[in-house]
């Protein structure tokens, strides 16, 4: 049985690539980040409705105090990460590319805790509803980068039972090492957080899934997991092993249906960082006001794993790490495979910031604007973890053939970037997929309106 499982994990999950890991920070202890003079906290840091500010300009706020909330279900409140005075509400650049209403707070340098920050009691004696409520109030979202509100994810859906909770420690993106360090340094806390989630969704099993290149983390997790009754699984090291659907298929052999949720196959995936944040929330009462991120790349003087307060400007973090080296090239929020390149360093660190990677101007890789040239080598088809045909997306999007794109299931693309990575003619396939998805939405709207006219 076990051998069969291993075989399945190794061979039956298709696609994926092996980029150079570049995880030189894997041995760096998580260090406290900069103490900023001020923070800018965007009111949208999650998937869902934007928060409304619930503080006034000039008001004094404390660490962990809720400063923005929304009445919507699909939303998560934001909290102040420093103590000081609210100096204004501004539209500020956001890592996602647009400007977002944000709360500006000037620090008083004291980092005074809010009175609301106190242990919430034993979570294992609470009902799932209470746990969900506390998680919502703590502003917990998925910290792997997707920032989906956790309380929504663990809310029961009629007729769907979650049997396995997977703690995602794959961290398949090159350069990033934050989850690896958390697993090493806070193993018990992470697994405790997972157990709280298990209680909230009433799952039968908790599995910690770690890529096989993190041997030390696997050993550590096995040691602690053995005590707490948690299974540890070693995943093949391959990008995108940490993508939700790929992970579920690898660990459980179940395929999430197209357009469906992990819940449809009885699974729930949560990031290591999220579990740690949940532990901090229940045992220390601290809502999500800081996160671990990796600072890496050849364009920055110092590399580190930092615990950074949310709302700290990337500029401050870069300066804290010794500043940029060489000509400015690219500043990426997230990993190099799926991260977002920034046009300015004045964006704040948000809940979903897994890393800050800076590439030098002399050496960074950039796709030149060019026509779509395909030599039909088929690498993108072989590497696609979703079993799609990226070359067709590229060709059809380039020619604006939206109907064809729709027939090729472009909606199933997770934009992991494997196709663009292996493409020998360096076609910007992810970009074309993004263009294509927009076009397909427009096309469907148009077709819908035609049908209404008929």
């Amino acid at each position: 049985m076990n051998i069969a499982k291993k075989f399945r994990r190794r061979y039956l999950v298709k696609g994926g690539i092996h980029p150079a890991p570049m995880k030189s920070t894997a041995s760096f202890v998580i260090a406290p980040g900069p103490a900023p003079d001020g923070v800018i906290i965007p009111l949208t840091q999650h998937v869902g409705a934007q928060c409304e500010p619930i503080v006034e300009v000039g008001e004094r706020v404390l660490v962990g105090q809720k400063i923005g909330d929304s009445g919507e279900f699909l939303s998560a409140p934001v909290h102040s990460s420093i103590s000081g005075e609210v100096t204004g509400f501004v539209r500020h650049p956001h890592p996602y590319g647009h400007e977002v209403l944000s709360i500006q707070i000037a620090s008083d340098g004291k980092f005074e805790l809010s009175p609301g920050v106190e242990p919430k009691g034993d979570p294992f004696e609470m009902s799932p509803e209470e746990i969900r409520k506390i998680i919502r109030e703590g502003g917990i979202v998925g910290l792997g980068g997707a920032t989906f509100p956790t309380h929504v994810k663990i809310s029961p859906v009629q007729g769907k039972q979650i049997d396995t909770l997977i703690l995602n420690g794959a961290e398949c993106e090159p350069y990033l090492t934050g989850d690896h360090r958390l697993l090493l340094e806070k193993t018990r806390e992470v697994i405790q957080g997972g157990l709280i989630l298990k209680r909230a969704v009433n799952a039968r099993e908790v599995v910690v899934a770690i890529e096989s290149n993190k041997k030390d983390a696997i050993e550590m997790a096995q040691e602690v997991g053995g005590e707490l009754g948690v299974e540890v699984i070693s995943l093949p090291s391959r990008y995108p092993m940490g993508a939700e659907k790929t992970l579920i298929k690898t660990v459980l052999g179940r395929e999430v249906p197209s357009g469906g949720l992990p819940m449809d196959v009885g699974a729930l995936v949560d990031n290591i960082g999220t579990c740690y944040a949940i532990h901090e929330l229940f045992y220390k009462g601290m809502p999500l006001v800081e996160r671990v991120l990796t600072v890496q790349g050849d364009g920055i003087a110092g590399h580190a794993n930092l615990r950074v307060r949310i709302g700290t400007l990337v500029h401050d973090v870069v300066e804290f790490c010794g500043g940029m080296v060489g000509k400015p090239g690219k500043l990426i929020i997230g990993g190099p495979m799926m991260g977002l390149a920034q046009h300015t360093t004045s964006v704040p660190v948000i809940k979903g910031t897994t890393g800050i990677i800076v590439f030098r101007g002399e050496t960074f890789f950039s796709r030149e604007p060019a026509h779509f040239v395909c030599i039909r080598c088929g690498r993108c088809v072989r590497r696609c973890p979703m079993n799609l045909m990226p070359y067709a997306f590229g060709a059809f999007a380039d020619m604006s053939m939206w109907q064809k794109l729709d027939e090729c299931h472009i909606d199933d693309c997770v934009e992991c970037g494997c196709c663009a990575y292996v493409c020998p003619t360096k076609n910007p396939l992810v970009q074309l997929v993004k263009v294509g998805k927009e076009g397909v939405v427009r096309y469907r709207k148009k077709m819908g309106s035609y049908q209404e006219e008929d």
Partner: protein
């Protein structure tokens, strides 16, 4: 303006805006570059792949030149000159960027030369190279757009236009060390053509030879045949280089050669003779694996290669052509778009049934 260009234009305009508005004294090279992920790239480029295929062909080419002498050099050189200059001139004429630097024209020229007999007059490979690039590739729009393998298009045109030259310019290479001179004389006395042609005559009862005696020379130093048919062993060495570099899919050569071997041995031919004679090894390892003209999916490749094998067998046993590899590959090249249309991978999270009705669903 295509969608990609529009997108880039947007990004460029935005950077310019920032340049003009609040950061007037900042030079463009001081700005951060923005682009869509991924921000890293694999090492393989199209040029590098072409280079590796050429490298994989080098042992074979070198041995062929050693065996055939200067006549082979003339054929290879004029074929490459023909294809590269045709690519250059046509791209100039079409006002598109000249891409002879990507080595694909060089590779086409080399592959074409390897399918030609070594004693051709120099102008024939030259014409072949020009035709291969012009009618095989550029007429469809250049790299990646051709339907048929350009090198084989060139060879097909030559074979149809000058069949006399193409069928009689095979020479007996005295330096092929696997056969002794006496053997050459014996075989040469009864047939002046290639082993495959001899085998054909055997079947028609005109000749009595033992196919088994050909196997060793075909592997190690074949004195009869085209330049690239000089040694099947060196073709396999080239294939191994490509497989190790992950450039070709093993399915195509294995299925192609396997089908021919199985079908030929059913008809009583020596299986090793069937595998190593004629252009089969060269065709299966270097022609059928051409990226542009074979299907994208693994199962598509299997169908493509098996089809090539079946057609090769049919041509070898049921036609009066001496060799079937060239036409079989060209035939299956033509079917490739059709294979790609029907053989599609099952997308993740879709049940087998839901792949096909996607079109119906959108129509409803």
């Amino acid at each position: 303006m295509c969608a990609t260009e529009k997108r880039w234009d947007l990004i460029r305009r935005r950077t310019e805006l920032e340049l003009r508005s609040d950061k007037k004294n900042i030079k463009p090279e001081d700005l951060l570059t923005i682009s869509v992920s991924p921000h890293i790239q694999g090492r393989d480029t199209a040029t590098l792949i072409m280079l590796w295929v050429i490298v994989a062909l080098l042992p074979l080419t070198a041995y062929a030149i050693y065996v055939c002498g200067w006549s082979a050099v003339t054929v290879i050189a004029s074929s490459i000159v023909g294809s590269v200059s045709a690519e250059f001139l046509i791209q100039r004429f079409r006002h598109v960027p000249v891409s002879i630097g990507d080595l694909s024209a060089v590779l086409t020229g080399l592959l074409l030369a390897l399918t030609l007999p070594p004693r051709l007059p120099f102008w024939m490979p030259l014409i072949g190279g020009v035709v291969a690039i012009a009618l095989g590739k550029q007429v469809f729009g250049g790299l990646g757009h051709n339907i048929f393998n350009p090198a084989l298009v060139g060879r097909a045109i030559l074979a149809i236009s000058w069949p006399k030259y193409m069928n009689t310019s095979y020479l007996v290479h005295p330096k092929a060390w696997a056969v002794n001179t006496a053997q050459i004389k014996t075989i040469n006395a009864v047939t002046s053509a290639t082993p495959l042609f001899a085998a054909k005559q055997v079947r028609s009862g005109a000749l009595q030879i033992n196919e088994g005696t050909y196997v060793k020379p075909l592997l190690l130093g074949n004195p009869w045949g085209a330049i690239g048919e000089v040694s099947a062993l060196l073709v396999i060495v080239g294939l191994l280089i490509l497989l190790l570099r992950g450039i070709v899919d093993w399915r195509i050569p294995v299925c192609f050669v396997g089908t021919v071997v199985i079908l030929s041995s059913i008809r009583g031919q020596n299986p090793l003779f069937a595998a190593f004679s004629g252009g089969l090894m060269l065709g299966a390892c270097f022609m059928a694996t051409d990226y542009v003209t074979n299907p994208m999916t693994s199962w598509g490749k299997v169908i493509f290669a098996t089809g090539c094998g079946v057609v090769t067998y049919l041509l070898r046993f049921h036609s009066n052509l001496p060799e079937g590899v060239m036409f079989s590959i060209l035939f299956m090249n033509g079917l490739t778009p059709l294979i790609d249309r029907y053989i599609k991978p099952r997308p993740f999270g879709h049940s087998k049934r839901s792949i096909v009705p996607a079109k119906e669903a959108s129509e409803q």
